[in-house]
């Protein structure tokens, strides 16, 4: 003889169950949305990348995302371990990883980290590889400040970045790709033959090009190492530190592209500098997917040049760079704007600018605004230039090719087709 339940009884059970499981879900320990997680190791080997990260309390799963361009992401693993070994990588291709910790209600993410198989990137993610500290620091017999093994930072960096121990050769401006060695986006520093230093200061004599030397061997201008930061064009800082590799790059790693500093002279700012870009490796070229932050970064030193659209027609009385005032040297000057979008202008209406729909030759732009946006690196290399051969007058009264991407005024006409 069976038991019969009336409709009201069944509904009561359903309601009770709903309340029970609902309360249970609410009361269940959950991932703290304010918690942070970070990578503790990113190790490369031939055909393999190993990543490890900090555990997140109450996370029930970790999703590992992988990308080669920072735009298209795929879930490559789901599990509850705090590590993952990716055996589906190709040597000399750049990969980007991020991990999501979730309890299926709340999720938090690691920053994005690059991996360069078969190499292990020694800059950053030291938590599980503290022996890397010994590469640059000594505890009791250091020669440089902050316990650095050497006083001379540039010489320290080019130990590896002359290409003998890194895929990036900063002297020749080349990068190792799967197909061989090809030009790198930043340009070359050259052989730094003029490098001369004492224990405190490094100075590189500025390059001069008189047309007599083989231009392909040497850059005609470089981001001069050893110069005092306060003397940079468009600078309005009192920083008397001399420029070296760590002026721009954080050797301990950063979440920014190319480990660019997020704290570059940021006194007076409310936020760190975020530079988002992804180096997309092909067999014969490294193409950069620039997203945002280039102007903000460069203007950390060249603050006067952070000028808005239309600044070419108006004398400047301020800078857009947060935390900075315009220097007296730039007051009243007309300066080329940055961070402006290349939109489809009616050529007649905007004849005085003559900005076309497209550039004659494509130059790097950022994508943060939804349309190509001009930034500093659109016209300038970061390290050095071999493309510009003819010096032009510069602010300090001298002549320089100013790290330009094209010779003479080709750079101007590339956009302004008068």
């Amino acid at each position: 003889m069976g038991v019969k339940f009336g409709t009201k009884t069944i509904l009561a059970f359903v309601l009770a169950g709903t309340i029970f499981f609902g309360l249970n879900a609410v009361a269940h320990a959950a991932v703290d949305p304010e918690a942070t997680m970070e990578f503790t190791a990113v190790e490369g080997s031939s055909g393999r990348v190993q990543i490890r990260w900090t555990p997140v309390q109450d996370a029930t799963a970790y999703y590992v995302y992988k990308s080669t361009d920072g735009v298209n992401w795929n879930i490559t693993n789901v599990g509850n371990a705090q590590s993952y070994q990716d055996n589906s990588v190709t040597d000399y291709v750049n990969y980007y990883y991020k991990v999501q910790a979730t309890d299926y209600i709340t999720s938090i993410y690691t920053p994005t980290v690059p991996a360069y198989p078969p190499d292990t990137n020694v800059h950053g993610n030291y938590a599980e590889n503290t022996s890397l500290c010994a590469g640059c620091h000594l505890t009791h017999s250091a020669s440089g400040e902050k316990l650095k093994v050497a006083t001379t930072i540039v010489n320290l960096c080019i130990t590896c970045h002359d290409g003998t121990q890194s895929k990036y050769n900063s002297l020749t401006g080349e990068v190792r790709l799967s197909g061989g060695i090809y030009p790198a986006p930043a340009g070359p520093f050259g052989n730094l033959k003029e490098l001369d230093y004492d224990s405190a200061v490094q100075v590189v004599a500025g390059y001069t090009y008189d047309g007599s030397q083989e231009p392909s061997n040497l850059p005609t201008s470089i981001h001069n190492l050893g110069e005092i930061v306060a003397t940079a064009p468009g600078s309005n800082t009192a920083y008397v530190s001399t420029m070296n590799c760590t002026t721009c790059h954080n050797p301990h790693g950063s979440t920014n592209y190319r480990i660019l500093r997020d704290d570059l002279f940021t006194a007076g700012r409310s936020t760190p500098i975020i530079v988002e870009a992804y180096a997309v490796t092909g067999a014969t070229s490294e193409n950069i997917n620039y997203v945002k932050g280039n102007v903000d970064f460069c203007s950390g030193c060249h603050s006067d040049f952070h000028q808005p659209s239309g600044s070419g027609g108006v004398g400047a009385d301020k800078t857009q760079q947060e935390g900075f005032n315009l220097s007296a040297a730039s007051a009243g000057k007309r300066m080329h704007s940055v961070d402006m979008r290349l939109t489809a202008y009616d050529f007649n209406e905007n004849l005085r600018y003559g900005v076309p729909l497209t550039m004659l030759s494509p130059l790097p732009t950022e994508s943060w605004a939804g349309t190509p946006t001009v930034a500093c690196m659109t016209c300038h290399y970061a390290h050095g230039t071999k493309e510009a051969l003819t010096p032009n007058p510069v602010r300090n009264g001298g002549q320089s090719t100013a790290l330009k991407r094209m010779d003479k005024m080709k750079l101007c006409r590339n956009c302004h087709q008068k």
Binding site: V149, T152, G163
Partner: protein
């Protein structure tokens, strides 16, 4: 029973004894001759105190008008009693006599035959050929002892690219051992440049290497010492490529690059570039001391890179940022 007191050697017996002595002497010296080892230096082997470290004897820095610039490589030419120096910053090769006096430079910046672009390593064959890693030109150039080009090894004839040589050494037969950071392995070529084989592959496991910036062939034991630079360690392989053992990073390496093994004193020397010193390992590859230290004074280094030894017991250290070679001895 034989009467030893009154025994007289027959003439034929004396002849036989003398002949045996002569033949024995021929065998002994013939061995040393064929092995290209000086019997005198071997017989006069001086044992070192356990902790005894070499001291600076002199330096080689070119001339006032033609100084060295960024020295990345050094090798000893024993037959001619010369020192071969990779004058990397000047993209040329310097040849110095046993006292460090300049004999000549050869080569110039460029990419033609006999030109260089940032040479990073040199070695000398048993026949006194000079091997030069022409780094930015991604090739090896082989010269005779006068600096005349004999042949080149580049991607086209290296046995498969990409070919990015960074360091070269050779064995007693003149075979070249080349650290190729293009494939992250050691490539072996015969004395005519023909590919013979490879050792290792890219990675951080045992037997794998990453940007090896030091190689040394121990002919006596048939071993290859590899300064596995990016992995912060030294690895030892047989010449057939079998992994034998390693000296790991926990021995205090920051950046091992140059490396040599001195069979006479049973010592392994490892140049640690970022510590500006040479680490010394004794019998059983146990660490026994260091010498050097950062600076530009006597016996000091600034980013030392490579090391060599000659058959007179001199040790040569390529002192990169001091633009010189420091010569040590016991």
């Amino acid at each position: 029973m034989l009467d030893i007191k009154n025994y007289k050697l027959q003439k034929s017996q004396v002849t036989i004894i003398v002949l045996i002595l002569i033949i024995t002497a021929l065998i002994v010296f013939g061995y040393f001759y064929l092995m290209k080892v000086s019997p005198i230096s071997t017989m006069n082997f001086t044992s070192l105190e356990d902790q005894e470290m070499p001291t600076q004897k002199f330096v080689i820095n070119g001339t006032d008008k033609e100084p060295l610039n960024k020295v990345l490589g050094v090798a000893a030419d024993n037959d001619n009693k010369r020192v071969i120096v990779a004058d990397s910053g000047n993209s040329r090769i310097g040849i110095f006599d046993a006292n460090g006096k300049l004999i000549k430079y050869f080569g110039k910046p460029g990419k033609g035959d006999g030109d260089f672009n940032y040479p990073t390593s040199v070695a000398v064959s048993p026949d006194s050929d000079i091997y030069v890693v022409d780094f930015n030109n991604r090739r090896i150039q082989v010269f005779d002892q006068d600096g005349k080009l004999r042949f080149k090894i580049s991607e086209e004839n290296s046995g498969g690219g990409p070919f990015i040589p960074v360091v070269v050494t050779c064995d007693e037969e003149g075979n070249l051992y080349v650290s190729d950071i293009g494939k992250q392995q050691v490539r072996i070529f015969d004395s005519q440049g023909k590919p013979k084989g490879t050792i290792g592959q890219g990675g951080n496991q045992d037997g794998q290497i990453s940007y090896a910036n030091g190689l040394y062939v121990d002919n006596r034991n048939g071993w290859l010492y590899v300064a596995d630079s990016n992995n912060g360690r030294v690895q030892v392989f047989t010449l057939a490529g079998k992994f034998l053992k390693k000296l790991d990073r926990n021995l205090g390496f920051a950046l091992p690059r140059g490396i040599i093994y001195d069979n006479n004193h049973e010592r392994l020397y490892v140049v640690d570039t970022l510590l500006h010193q040479v680490k010394v390992f004794g019998a059983g590859l146990k660490p026994i001391g260091v010498f050097g230290g950062q600076g530009n004074g006597a016996g000091q280094f600034s980013f030392p890179n490579a090391m060599a030894e000659d058959d007179r017991g001199n040790l040569y250290v390529a002192d990169r940022e001091n633009n010189r070679v420091v010569v040590y001895g016991y």
